[in-house]
Structures are given as structure tokens and as C-alpha cells.
């Protein structure tokens, strides 16, 4: 193997892993505040299609990015209203959001499927993704606001008793997660494979969800985990192309198997679980209860 080949491989790994980092880091913050949002796949698709349509109509990357973000704010805002104000079941609502997003994006994008566009350079987003992980890590562990978010996720009643507005904080984290998912979608339809086709995220939202558990809710581990998932997928392609025989289906399952193993591992060790998993994850908060 020569240097150029290795740089090429690293390059492909960077490009293909970035959407997982975006969606994963957003979901990590949401889950840290105690809310499980299973709607990533739907949010990504809607973010992807809004960005794409805006770009086709206006030809302006800034507008397309802006509207993609707005779509994430609106959709995750609806999700937040449902699970926080109306206290609907988070799992069911998240699944509904995914189904809704798949249908909505397909409907919006119908006329635009197959329109050629000029893609955007992915390296901006790759750099931003690394910065984001650093900032989120810093935010959650070193700043007061970050500790408040974690407090809300660990015990919302105590946080409320201390005078923090649980609902407001969760609104913010859900919307942050939503925006990150739309960015992941935007990156896929504008940089990674510059096109719009229905369902083009092809399950990356679910892998990002698995990734958060795999990373045991730690930003740095999330970054490492994402690059392990992405790196293994690209390495197996490289080995295939060289002519090594590999069970390709197995590699497609690998992120989920790895996550299951981590789940077994952390659930078998209660202290470990307490250290990492937010205690109030998926528990609705009722004010004055």
C-alpha cells in the first residue's frame, strides 16, 4: 500500500462518516437532557429535500442551508411540543416523526428528483463536524449550562426544584438535535451524493441512534465510534476491490451488532450505566408532580 492509496481511503472515510457525526452529536445532546428522539431518519430526509429544493430554485447555497435548518427547527419543534407539552410517548412520537418525514420528503421532492445540481465541497462540513464534537464535549462537561442540561436529564424533578425550567431546556436540546439531523441530511443531498432521490439517507438515521448508545453518551466516543463504523465499511470495500472474500452482509449489520454488545455490556454493570445513561431518558416530565 502506498501513501496515496491510504490518503484516498482516509478521504473517503471522512466524507462518508460525517453525516453520522452530525446526526449522532445532535441526538446525544437531546438524550442527555432526557428525551429520546427516534425521528432522526425523518428529520434527515426532510432536511435533505428542503436544502435540495431551495438550491434548485434559488441556486444559493446559503439559502438552501438556511431553509434546511429551518425545516429541522419546525419538525423538531413539533416533536418537542408533542412530547413535552402534551406528554405523548416519546418512542411512538419519534417513530411517527420518521414515518412522517419519509412521506413528506418524498412528496415535496417528487418534482425535483433527478434534477442535476452542483455539489458543495464536503470539507467545510467535515471540519465543522469535528469542531462541533469538541464544542459539545466542552459544553456538556465544562460549562454551567451544560451541567444544567445533564441535571435535567438525570433528574428532572430535582432540576425543577433547583429552579431550572425543564421544559424550556428540553425544547432547546430537541431543536438542537433536530437542526443537527437536518444538517446531516443537507450534507447527504448537497455534498455527499449531490442529488435528491426518495429515501436516500438509506437508514443512516438509525445507525446514528445506535451510535449514541454505542458511545455511551460521550461526545468523544461518539466521534471515535462513528469513524469505526464508517472506517470498517470503507475498509471492507477496499478489501473487496483487492479481491479478498468477505461476508458483506455481515459488515452491513456490524453497527447494530456492536451496539447490542455495548447495550449488554452497560446493562450488566449498573454502576457503568448510572455513570453514562441519562436516568430520565424517555421519562415524561410532568410539572408539579
Amino acid at each position: 500500500m502506498n501513501i496515496e492509496l491510504i490518503i484516498g481511503i482516509l478521504n473517503i472515510v471522512l466524507i462518508s462518516t460525517t453525516p453520522l457525526v452530525f446526526a449522532g452529536i445532535g441526538e446525544l445532546v437531546t438524550e442527555k437532557s432526557g428525551v429520546l428522539n427516534l425521528g432522526l431518519e425523518g428529520l434527515m430526509l426532510v432536511g435533505a429535500v428542503t436544502g435540495f429544493i431551495t438550491l434548485v430554485l434559488t441556486g444559493n447555497y446559503f439559502y438552501s442551508l438556511f431553509f434546511s435548518i429551518i425545516s429541522g427547527v419546525i419538525l423538531s419543534g413539533i416533536f418537542a411540543f408533542l412530547v413535552l407539552n402534551l406528554m405523548t410517548n416519546q418512542i411512538a412520537t419519534g417513530l411517527a416523526l420518521t414515518i412522517f418525514g419519509i412521506g413528506l420528503s418524498a412528496m415535496l421532492g417528487k418534482k425535483f428528483a433527478g434534477t442535476p445540481i452542483d455539489g458543495l465541497n464536503p470539507y467545510y462540513f467535515i471540519v465543522i463536524s469535528f469542531l462541533l464534537v469538541f464544542l459539545v464535549g466542552y459544553f456538556l462537561s465544562k460549562t454551567k449550562s451544560g451541567l444544567i442540561v445533564r441535571a435535567v436529564g438525570e433528574n428532572h424533578n430535582s432540576a425543577y426544584a433547583l429552579g431550572y425550567n425543564v421544559i424550556k431546556i428540553r425544547y432547546l436540546t430537541i431543536i438542537f438535535g433536530g437542526v443537527m439531523s437536518s444538517l446531516a441530511g443537507y450534507y447527504i443531498s448537497i455534498c455527499y451524493a449531490p442529488m435528491w432521490q426518495e429515501g436516500m439517507t438509506a437508514g443512516r438515521g438509525w445507525i446514528a441512534l445506535a451510535l449514541v448508545v454505542f458511545a455511551t453518551w460521550k461526545p468523544w466516543r461518539l466521534l471515535v465510534g462513528a469513524y469505526i463504523f464508517g472506517g470498517v465499511a470503507i475498509m471492507q470495500m477496499n478489501l473487496q476491490a483487492i479481491g479478498v472474500k468477505l461476508p458483506g452482509q455481515f459488515f452491513n449489520m456490524m453497527p447494530y451488532i456492536a451496539t447490542l454488545i455495548v447495550l449488554v455490556f452497560i446493562s450488566s454493570n449498573k454502576v457503568r450505566l448510572k455513570l453514562s445513561a441519562p436516568s430520565c431518558l424517555n421519562i415524561p416530565y410532568e410539572k408539579n408532580s
Binding site: N11, I12, L86, M87, G103, M195, E198, G243
Partner: protein, 368 residues
């Protein structure tokens, strides 16, 4: 109390909205008079894929145009190749469809299962090999097109390395790889093909990754047997050459797209629908290529290919059409070096339909 009813209203609203989108997504149209024959289609992807499903949908529209008011058509898109397919096929059968096209290989057993429950409904399964009294099979000889692009690739490659992105190890795909390699190695004995299985018909991201990986390993021509135009786009970006898949994809990669193998289903669909209208439909196996117009080559890209090469490609098309050229002419050896097609003979349809081995010269093994 008030809050609870609000919750209920919101949940009901979500269910209704999600339901509406789900249904519109599936594009079920039901408003037909009794004398019309209803024709249903099951699609693996969205008609907007500009590849496999797109061409089936073009065929469906052709059928509608040709037969006019005597038929109405319905399609369900994005039907996964699992037990879910049974539900979708049964839904069409139950809603009074007279003829149902299931347009992907792995709908095979599901099609037969539903067909046994509805003996009066006719079924047409694309690219499969299992038939019944009310189940026909049909496919196009795509491999004839692969012979043409193999010839072009063999002549055009400078690195003698061709990247080939494939979906699933099924006979149709293996046959394509072999036909391509036989044609390419005939004009360029040094040619090597690198194969990546992505285990998906449709995942633009993964297809682009595979294309970039192959280009990184020195491939200067990208061939694909997956459904999106992401590989061609990746080739365009990297400045290498590519072939489109299933439909003309030149608009997406004008400086990479040399030609494409197009699937032309319309005339077949119209003929079979007409047979149902006339009451003459019977179960049969149809396998057509250049000769019957079920496979066509997209216009050759004159910016990229010399006029001599275009003339050669057209000559191969013609040769296959009039039978002087066959994609699998002996002697053909398998990887173990055994003679599978003798000199002076051509591979018969039985061998082609069940082809699960690579010919000699291709590296790697067919995944099990």
C-alpha cells in the same frame, strides 16, 4: 380532562396526517369502471430513481398510452423484497387487479404465494425463473448491452483497471459481470476488473463510496449494477469514465457518461395487457434483447468516444441482433479452468439463467 382530550385530538391528527402521507406515498389510485382491466405494478424503488424503477414506470406509462381507456394502472413503490411484498401484492390482487407485474427478482416466491391464492389473477414476475399457470416470467437480455460496454471499456481504459459496483450475487448480476469481462478481455487481454458488492440496489451514499474506493484503487472506468446515478456522478467528479445504468443518465454526468444500457419495457407491458383484455393471456417465459427492442443503448457520447469506436459498438449491437455475435461464445472456462462452453458453441439459456460462477480471468469469488 381538557388536556387529555387535546392529547387525543393531536394524536388522532398525527395518525391521520401520517396515514394520508403514507397512502399518497404508495400512490394507490382506485376509480375505474367495471369493463376496464386493472393492471398493477410492484416497484422496488421510487419511480424517481432514474434507473431500474424509473424505466418500469416509463413502461407503465407507455402501456396506459397505448391501451387508453381499456385499462387503468396502479403502482405501489418502495416495496421491500421480504414478507412485506406479499402484503402489497395481495393488496393489488384483492382490489380487483387483473394483471400484476412484480418488477424485482426477489419478489419471486412472494409472487407465487399470492398467485396460488388468486388463480383468476394473472401475474408477471420480472427476472425470475419460477412460473405457474397464472404466473409468467419476463426479463431483458441486459447482458447483451454489457457485451457492448465491455468492448468500449476494454478499448478506453488506460490503467487497465475497471471498477464494477454490484448489488446482490444473483444470476442476472453475475451474468452481466461475465459478459462484460469476456468482451473487455477480448479486446484488451490485460484488463482487470475490481468488484465491490454493496448489498443494496439503492443507496446513493454507499454507491458513491464504492465508486470512490475503486477510483482510488486505480480504476479509470466505473461500471455499475445498482440503481442510482451516484457512481456516475462520482466518476464525473473524479474525472474518470462511466456507464449509466438502466436509463440514460447523461444529464447527471455529461463528461463521464459514455453510454448506458436502457431497459425498454413498454411494448412488452402493452402486449401482455392487451392479451389480458383480449382474454388470450397465457403463462410463458419471455427473454428478449436487442433484437426485440427490450434492450437499447443510449446515444454514444461523441465527446468521449471516437467515431471508430462508436461504429464498432454499433456493429456489435447489430451482430447480436442478427445472431452473428453472441455474448457467451466458446471457448469459455470457469475460474477453476474447466471448459464450460465448447469452442464453436454458445452458452444456452439454461446455463445463462442459473449462472453463478465467474469466468476465467476474474479475480475473487462469487459471494455465497
Amino acid at each position: 380532562m381538557k388536556k387529555q382530550s387535546l392529547v387525543l385530538v393531536v394524536i388522532a391528527a398525527i395518525v391521520v396526517i401520517a396515514g394520508i402521507f403514507f397512502i399518497t406515498n404508495q400512490n394507490i389510485q382506485k376509480d375505474v369502471s367495471d369493463d376496464q382491466k386493472k393492471i398493477g405494478f410492484i416497484y422496488i424503488g421510487p419511480p424517481g430513481d432514474h434507473g431500474w424503477t424509473y424505466m418500469h414506470d416509463v413502461g407503465r406509462q407507455y402501456l396506459e398510452k397505448e391501451l387508453g381507456d381499456s385499462v387503468s394502472t396502479t403502482y405501489i413503490e418502495n416495496v421491500p423484497e421480504n414478507a412485506d411484498a406479499v402484503r402489497s401484492i395481495r393488496k393489488l390482487a384483492e382490489s380487483g387487479h387483473d394483471l400484476i407485474f412484480t418488477t424485482s427478482f426477489n419478489y419471486m416466491d412472494q409472487t407465487l404465494e399470492v398467485a396460488s391464492e388468486f388463480p383468476d389473477v394473472k401475474f408477471e414476475h420480472a427476472t425470475g425463473f419460477k412460473r405457474a399457470d397464472n404466473v409468467s416470467t419476463y426479463s431483458a437480455r441486459f447482458y447483451e448491452g454489457r457485451t457492448v460496454i465491455g468492448h468500449i471499456a476494454g478499448k478506453m481504459t488506460e490503467t487497465n483497471t475497471i471498477g464494477y459496483i454490484v448489488s446482490f450475487p444473483i444470476p442476472e448480476v453475475i451474468r452481466g459481470i461475465n459478459a462484460f469481462y469476456l468482451a473487455a478481455s477480448k479486446v484488451n487481454p490485460d484488463v482487470k476488473i475490481k468488484i465491490i458488492w454493496v448489498y443494496s440496489w439503492y443507496d446513493p451514499g454507499k454507491e458513491a463510496d464504492a465508486a470512490n474506493t475503486l477510483i482510488n484503487q486505480g480504476a479509470d472506468i466505473i461500471v455499475q449494477h445498482t440503481d442510482s446515478y451516484a457512481p456516475c456522478q462520482a466518476a464525473e467528479k473524479a474525472g474518470v469514465l462511466a456507464f449509466g445504468q438502466a436509463s440514460n443518465q447523461e444529464a447527471f454526468c455529461p463528461n463521464a457518461h459514455m453510454t448506458a444500457i436502457e431497459d425498454i419495457w413498454g411494448p412488452y407491458y402493452a402486449a401482455k395487457a392487451q392479451a389480458v383484455v383480449d382474454g388470450t393471456w397465457s403463462s410463458e417465459d419471455t427473454w428478449q434483447g436487442f433484437k426485440d427492442g427490450m434492450v437499447e443503448m443510449s446515444p454514444y457520447n461523441e465527446k468521449l468516444l471516437s467515431s471508430d469506436l462508436i461504429a464498432e459498438a454499433k456493429a456489435i449491437e447489430e451482430g447480436i441482433e442478427n445472431g452473428t455475435i453472441h455474448s457467451f461464445e466458446g471457448p469459455i472456462y470457469n475460474q477453476a479452468g474447466e471448459l464450460v462452453v465448447k469452442e464453436g458453441e454458445v452458452a444456452d439459456d439454461g446455463m445463462l439463467a442459473s449462472m453463478m460462477f465467474y469466468v476465467q480471468g476474474i479475480d475473487g469469488e462469487v459471494p455465497q
